[in-house]
């Protein structure tokens, strides 16, 4: 905390991803100079249980969207039984609109992930890890492969890593461009060469995952944050953010801000500080703010009023009826047609539904079509209630959380912008009557 004045500005030394902006060198040598791979051997000689305890004490929560405690998740993994291998699968199918943090990690600081995977494999009893990279991330996957090759050359990967007798390997798998493959069990199906569709749970991946073997699936950022936590300690980590929301986090700020980008900042940072200090402020000034989507397209929208003193962490956003999600902050100012934006998001979900289960397959398209009409004022005011009702009939009734994520933004829009809908419907009906007359 170098700058006393503003505790929310993170010093380079406190960053998990010091080269996130790509100004430095991504290569192994440079990463080592920044402290990478230091003390790795000692960690590999630590009991996995001790590592998990440390993670639990840090209260680190998954960075992929759901915010599940990492230490707890890792503790679910059974010890290798000698028959079936354990796997660590890294989810890099980053496709949530607004989210682009893993992309910069892969491009500019890929060794943070490689080191995280090595420690993860050790902790989870896995010899092999698969990184499922979004199909569109061609350069990113290439970069990761280069980093893996470097790590091999330096003896961090392969057989007998650093003389510990342990074997770790990382395989990069490129997706084929389906959002749903970011859902962890759909990802596993896709990895197995099948159609990317979420599995029924139970059984959960920890017991029955990739090829039916015990599997842990984590987001890129989650895994990459493990080494700094272990090395710098729980105390360092918990100084950031509020209890149960500790640590640092990459925020992908986009939309109507002056300096969009990926910024690593402490958790629980006020949204206003994030936008003003990191992202150069709202275009047209804070008062020109209309609304913010706080955690990727599936999290319900926040009104400008709510943004005023919103803290950016799991619990605060949850309290406001939305979520931190992937921490992809999409800023809209008053020049934005928010209904149009939300309709476009609806269309995205309609396009990406896997089609497996009924409410999602049939309902998401229906909701988008209603959004398309109602956002243009075509329809009746009653239909706004119907729209809300249809989203409730979809939410919570499907195999995976995709449909919930597709419905929340619509529900959020209705909550905050229903008057705007009504205004457009009335205006349009008036012209119709006039034309008819």
């Amino acid at each position: 905390m170098s700058k006393k004045k503003n505790p929310y500005i993170l010093a380079d030394a406190d960053k998990c991803f010091p080269n996130l902006d790509g100004k430095g060198d991504w290569r192994l040598e440079a990463y080592r100079k920044r402290g990478g791979y230091e003390g790795l051997k000692e960690i590999l000689q630590t009991e996995p249980a001790a590592i998990i305890d440390k993670l639990k004490a840090s209260s680190h929560r998954g960075r992929g969207g759901a915010g599940f405690p990492t230490g707890l998740k890792w503790s679910f993994m059974p010890k290798p039984d000698g028959i079936k291998p354990n796997y660590l699968v890294v989810n890099s199918d980053e496709s949530e609109p607004g989210t682009c943090k893993d992309r910069d990690i892969l491009l500019n600081d890929p060794h943070t992930l490689v080191e995280g995977i090595i420690i993860g494999c050790h902790t989870l009893g896995a010899k092999a890890s698969y990184v499922y990279v979004r199909g569109e991330y061609v350069d990113e996957a290439d970069q990761l492969e280069r980093a893996i090759e470097e790590a091999h050359n330096f003896g961090y990967l392969g057989e007998d890593v650093l003389g510990t007798g342990k074997t770790f390997n990382i395989y990069v798998h490129r997706g084929a461009g389906a959002y749903i493959c970011g859902e962890e069990t759909a990802l596993l199906e896709s990895l197995e060469g099948k159609k990317g569709q979420p599995r029924l749970k139970p059984p959960f991946p920890a017991g029955y995952g990739l090829y039916g073997c015990p599997t842990t699936i984590n987001n890129v950022e989650t895994v990459a944050q493990v080494p700094p936590i272990l090395k710098k300690g729980v105390e360092w980590w918990t100084q950031f953010g509020r209890p149960n929301n500790h640590g640092t986090k990459i925020f992908s700020v986009s939309g109507m801000v002056n300096k969009p980008g990926n910024y690593e900042a402490p958790m629980s940072i006020p949204l206003k500080v994030l936008i003003d200090e990191y992202a150069g402020g709202v275009v047209g000034g804070w008062d020109n703010l209309l609304a913010v989507i706080p955690g990727g397209s599936s999290t319900p929208i926040l009104s400008a009023e709510q943004c005023q003193d919103m803290l950016m962490d799991f619990d605060a956003l949850r309290g406001a009826g939305t979520g931190l999600g992937t921490a992809a902050v999409i800023v809209m100012n008053k020049d934005t047609d928010v209904l149009k934006v939300m309709t476009r998001i609806s269309k995205f979900y309609k396009h990406e539904s896997c089609g497996q289960c009924t409410p999602c397959r049939e309902g998401v398209g229906w909701v988008w079509r209603m959004m398309e009409r109602l956002s243009n004022g075509e329809g009746t005011i009653d239909e706004l209630d119907q729209l809300e009702n249809v989203t409730r009939r979809i939410e919570g009734h499907t195999i995976c959380a995709f449909a919930d994520g597709a419905m929340w933004p619509v529900q959020g829009t209705l909550k905050h912008f229903r008057p705007l809908f009504e205004q457009r419907i009335k205006a349009r009906n008036k012209t119709k009557v006039r034309k008819g007359a």
Binding site: A178, I180, K195, L200, P202, K350, H351, E352, S353, C354, G355, Q356, C357, T358, P359, C360, R361, E362, G363, V364, G365, W366, R369, M370, Q386, V390, R393, I394, G396, H397, T398, I399
Partner: protein
Amino acid sequence: MTTAPQPAPMVKVTIDGQTTEMPKGSTIIQAAKKLGIEIPHFCYHERLSVAGNCRMCLVDLEGAPKPVASCAWPVADNMVVNTQSERTQNARKGVMEFLLINHPLDCPICDQGGECDLQDIAVSYGSDRTRFHEAKRAVADKDLGPLVETVMTRCIHCTRCIRFATEIAGVPEMGATGRGENMQVGTYVEQALASELSGNMIDLCPVGALTSKPYEFTARPWELKHTDSIDVMDALGSHIRIDHRDGKVMRVVPRECNEINEEWLSDAGRFSYDGLANNRLTHPMVRKGKKLTATTWQEAFAVIAEAAKGMRKNRIAGVAGNLLCAEDLYAFDHFMKDTLGTDNVDCRTNGLTIDGKVRAAYIMNTPIAELDKVDAVLLVGCNPRLEVPVLNARLRKGVLKRGMKVASIGAPVDLTYPVQTLGESPKLLDDILEGKHPFADVLREATNGVILVGARAVLTRPDSQQILDKAREVAEMYGFVRPDWNGFNVLHQATGRITGLDMGVYPQKDGYHSGGIAEAVKAGKIDLLVLHGESQRPASDFEGAKFTVFIGTHDSPYAQLADVVLPAAAYTEKAGLWANVEGRVQEGHMAVRPPMEAKEDWKIYRALSEVLGSKLPFDNQTQLRALIAKLNKAYAPENIGKVTRADWKHFGMSGSVREEGLSTSVPAYYLSNEIMRASKVMRDCQDLADARAAQTMKKAS
């Protein structure tokens, strides 16, 4: 090798206030079924893997934040479920609405109408008006071949058909393409499924997306009368329901019978019924000059009596076909042997070399349902996929679910599951007997092993007795024959043959067997030849007798050989007893009357015997059945429908077997009998199979 599975521990489940015990690992929907609580569902099907995709079965589980899919959710101790709560009802109504928004409202022109799950459940959970004001989806229909009609706009994406094709039928071509609301079910490259079981997808499809092409638009379910009966297109004895209207068979569907066909039916059994209406013999006919002309029964009988007058008994012969029931065969046999006094009688027109003395030597001694306990299978010249398709699905289940090992002696064959082809020559049996062959270890370690000997390939060879002998020895040596288990099996394709052997329809003294009869006919040694039903031999084999009588159902080259033709009843037109592969005798029932002047076969013999002055000793079917029961106890009333264990006796002859390989091919499978040959649908299937075979050949070369 495998230890008996431990019974799963029981857990207590409460649904809607009623409590029951369920084995761990079962699901809520199963518990509800046990309690008699109905949970509406579409994608769930007992015999398929759980997909959990329709979401119709959502129920309220105490402590769960959202409703759970009862078809997939495992029971746990002290679980409390509510299927009537508001949350459940809302979920059901929601799913129903979603299913209906894009479903066409074409029930009036849909063949599924009246027996459609979607229709039925919509009555309870559907709304009487729509809130959907967008354009409905339309989906291009798929070409799945001559059996399955598709109207894909009606598809509710339950994936039952996909799961059936991949899991049960073992043809992975069915699948879903596209995502979200653009998801489409089909074969992707648009081809008929290479399966002998594809019709079952029609039954499984809960809506009218997949319907029967031959049945298309021919009847409404509520117009149909139903008669339960037994399929005879292969020897499995599948339970069927014959649906008919105004004396015409409109369709054939399977009935559930866990011990035999589960709930499946072969395509041959399901779709060959159009052959019942084509090309039928409807009147007695006598040859006048070159032409067969219709006449009365009296005249036809008189012509036969005239011809038979003073005939030398050893110049008379008769062969029986493969679809006949016990009554027909008994009457035929006694007509030939007693009335006409000849021993030149045979039902084994495929050249079978064994007789009916040891029943254990020609049936499956392992009851079909017991196959679910088998862990190792040795096939000897056997192609269960074509010989008994539904049985093959059961074997496949064993391979997939229990890791059952299957090895085959005979030409390599695709049975839809991994089969280790040991080689083609039956000499390999020697290696197995000596314990030299690697597969011997598998057999030795098997808890419940079976050996399946193909009647077609093995029992028609000159060295069949020797092969049979060795197969028996293998079964005995590897512990397949024990007080609690008999794993020696012979697999027939035709039920009439098993029934014929049971009825003793073969020479008892020194008469000709079927091959001998054919030779004798050619050599001009036969003056009166009775052909009952069509046989496995080409009609030309029987050309040349001085006087030929044909008793059968279809006009064909056989009928054209005859001097007198007597029209008989097909399996749907008579009550009869048939033995299936496992020797289980089952009763088929008359669904419709034989066409016009045609009569049940046994009645024909009874009447004709009287005209010939040596009356058969029965006046009605009850008396006839009593005689049959006396001949073979498996046919006694108390044994009907049951498996009677055959006594294990010595059979076969020791000696060396030939080097020559065993075939596994079933030529022209879809044209296996006269009904199938008269069926246009079956001909289409055969054309398709031929085209496919030609294509594979081309690819291979």
